[in-house]
């Protein structure tokens, strides 16, 4: 251990600059109170989505069995009109009534494939047996067997009310509560707004172009993602 004893002078601070310490602190205090920078909190552009925009929990209501059409104060059954108007040709185009119906159901392109010609208040299976409107799943099951099986198990479709399998509140929606029987594919819809959570509300500057990631895709799905791997990594 080296010890330096060659400077035994008593301590003596520099006296004049020391006078500056107090005022300097005072200036600092003034800066703190009046001139300190404002916090950099980005404005958050959040989106308000009301409950209304979320839509109903079921897409359509179940039709009564048999279905009732109201015109003014009068209630009609299907058979009330179709007793008079028979459609022998089973045509689906050139309709003068029911023009709002778009039949887009694949190979199932005739009204009478599902609607009973004999009893207009009922449905019909392809083998000719009648089905009531309460039996829509059985009707659909004639073609969509696997989906029907899934629906029975609960692996297809939507269940509301309760998750308990024995609960009386539990209600499994039927086919036509979600799907339009005439055009069962769901129409594309506009998505609700995306997240704005990057740095507390700023949308990220130019979101990530897809396929620009590292060359890690084990197999090429959407076209051409692979080639850009090395390039995307460059600066």
């Amino acid at each position: 251990m080296t010890r330096h004893h060659e400077h035994p002078d008593p301590e003596r601070p520099a006296s004049r600059p020391a006078w500056l310490v107090g005022p300097a602190f005072g200036l600092l205090a003034v800066w703190f109170v009046w001139f300190a920078p404002a916090p950099q909190i980005p404005a958050s552009g959040s989106v308000q989505i009301g409950k209304a925009a979320l839509g109903p929990t079921a897409r359509a209501t179940v039709k009564a069995d048999p279905p009732i059409t109201r015109v003014g104060a009068y209630e009609y059954r299907c058979s009330d009109c179709h007793r008079l108007f028979q459609n022998e040709a089973e045509k689906t185009v050139g309709r003068v009534q029911h023009t709002e119906i778009v039949l887009d159901h694949g190979l199932n392109d005739r009204c009478l494939y599902c609607h009973s010609q004999a009893d207009r208040d009922r449905l019909v299976a392809r083998d000719g047996a009648g089905l009531s409107y309460a039996q829509i799943p059985e009707l659909c099951a004639r073609c969509h067997g696997t989906t029907y099986r899934d629906w029975q198990r609960g692996t297809h479709g939507k269940t509301l009310g309760s998750w308990r399998s024995a609960s009386p509140e539990r209600r499994r929606l039927t086919c036509s509560e979600c799907h339009d029987p005439h055009a069962p594919a769901f129409a594309p819809e506009a998505p609700l707004p995306g997240p704005h959570t990057a740095r507390m509300g700023e949308p990220p500057a130019g979101h990530r172009p897809e396929g620009g990631g590292p060359p890690s895709a084990p197999f090429v799905g959407a076209g051409g993602a692979r080639g850009s791997g090395e390039g995307g990594a460059g600066r």
């Binding site: 002078d9 008593p10 301590e11 003596r12 020391a18 006078w19 107090g22 005022p23 602190f25 005072g26 600092l28 205090a29 109170v33 300190a36 958050s44 959040s46 989106v47 308000q48 409950k51 979320l54 839509g55 929990t57 897409r59 696997t146 198990r153 692996t155 269940t159 009310g161 309760s162 998750w163 308990r164 399998s165 509140e169 929606l173 979600c178 799907h179 069962p184 594919a185 769901f186 594309p188 819809e189 506009a190 998505p191 609700l192 995306g194 997240p195 704005h196 959570t197 507390m200 509300g201 990220p204 979101h207 897809e210 990631g213 890690s216 895709a217 084990p218 090429v220 799905g221 959407a222």
Partner: protein, 342 residues
């Protein structure tokens, strides 16, 4: 040659220290101005605390409140009463705050049908409404990724897709929320035990115990946790007054929150909000211990996968596919609505 800094250069003059006897008046003044200036600067440095909201300081009861698991029923009732009063004070709405203990003999699980999901983000916003999530800054428990077909690499998903219409034929949609892992890394890392797994599998957070270290956020492999960086805001009329103590009661700044499978609903038998709003029935929820439940059926009969199985978290959130191959697979193009219809 050393330059002596601390001990001064010239010799002989008396020392400078404070109230040393025989000490000069000048030295005293110097010290005093320095001390006064220092104190002023110290006080002034704290001046931004003026901006603290009035209710920013925890009340004494809140400060002394015990951990949820250690509270007696009476203490818990007091705590819920305090929450009720706070919510009423802040939002002008009288809520019902209840404690929903887990149901014996139930293990919850979620299943999501990737063949069905159309990426409409309704679940995201229904969750925001149900769970009193902050609208600004925006907090959302569910993230929906638009994934190119042919990959499960999440890095290639798009979080911010903004199309006129979904689904897009070249993509599938992957919603991600808390997976309520059976081996939850977030619970393991929490230094204060503010988050834990309950017997029904739901991982909950005691918002009054969390210290806001965000270690759980770093630990979560599914990016499911959110931190309240600023004071959450809920617009007038946007508050859901049906509250659970461990679920959707309003959070305060500085704590972590996340999806809890809507436990204030599910523990009284109802369905989660995200499931109810799903327009295509892609979400399934239930009790895996009940062989008749929908999730049990899915686990038995469907092609099921979990995200990041390799990290060993054992999620309770499963993804599955229908057997049927979508009819327009491989033909990318907007608005073809491939998976949607049977």
């Amino acid at each position: 040659m050393t330059i002596r800094i601390w001990e001064g250069k010239s010799a002989g003059a008396p020392g400078p220290c404070g109230a040393e006897p025989g000490f000069t008046r000048r030295g005293f003044l110097r010290g005093a101005t320095g001390a006064v200036g220092g104190m002023a600067a110290l006080a002034a440095a704290l001046s931004p605390l003026r901006d603290l909201p009035d209710d920013a300081f925890p009340s004494l009861e809140e400060f002394l409140q015990k951990h949820y698991k250690e509270m007696t029923p009476a203490e818990l009732a007091d705590a819920m009463e305090r929450v009720r009063a706070e919510v009423e004070g802040r939002y002008g709405v009288v809520p019902t705050v209840r404690d929903y203990p887990p149901i014996e003999g139930v293990r919850f699980a979620f299943a999501l049908n990737l063949s069905r999901c159309i990426g409409c983000r309704k679940c995201v916003h229904a969750c925001v409404e149900e769970n009193n999530l902050s609208r600004s800054p925006e907090v959302q428990y569910i993230r929906v990724l638009e994934m190119p077909r042919g990959t499960m690499d999440l890095a290639r998903g798009d979080h911010h897709y903004d199309r006129a219409e979904v689904p897009d034929g070249g993509h599938y949609y992957l919603p991600v929320q808390c997976h309520q892992c059976a081996n939850p890394p977030c619970v393991k890392v929490c230094p204060v035990g503010a988050t834990w797994q309950e017997s029904d599998g739901i991982v909950v957070i005691d918002y009054d115990w969390c210290i806001g270290c965000r270690y759980c956020e770093a630990a979560c492999p599914y990016w499911a946790r959110r931190f309240n960086f600023a004071e959450p805001t809920i617009p007038d009329g946007g508050l859901n007054p049906d509250m659970g103590y461990l679920s959707n009661r309003p959070r305060r700044r500085g704590v972590v929150e996340k999806c809890h499978f809507c436990l204030h609903r599910t523990r009284r038998g109802e369905m989660p909000a995200c499931l109810e709003v799903c327009p295509v029935g892609a979400r399934k929820f239930g009790d895996v211990l009940d062989p008749q439940s929908e999730v049990s059926q899915i686990l038995r009969t469907k092609r099921v996968l979990v995200l990041k199985e390799e990290v060993g978290t054992l999620p309770r959130f499963f993804y599955y596919f229908d057997e049927r191959y979508p009819r327009d697979a491989g033909s990318p193009g907007p608005g073809e609505g491939g998976e949607a219809g049977p």
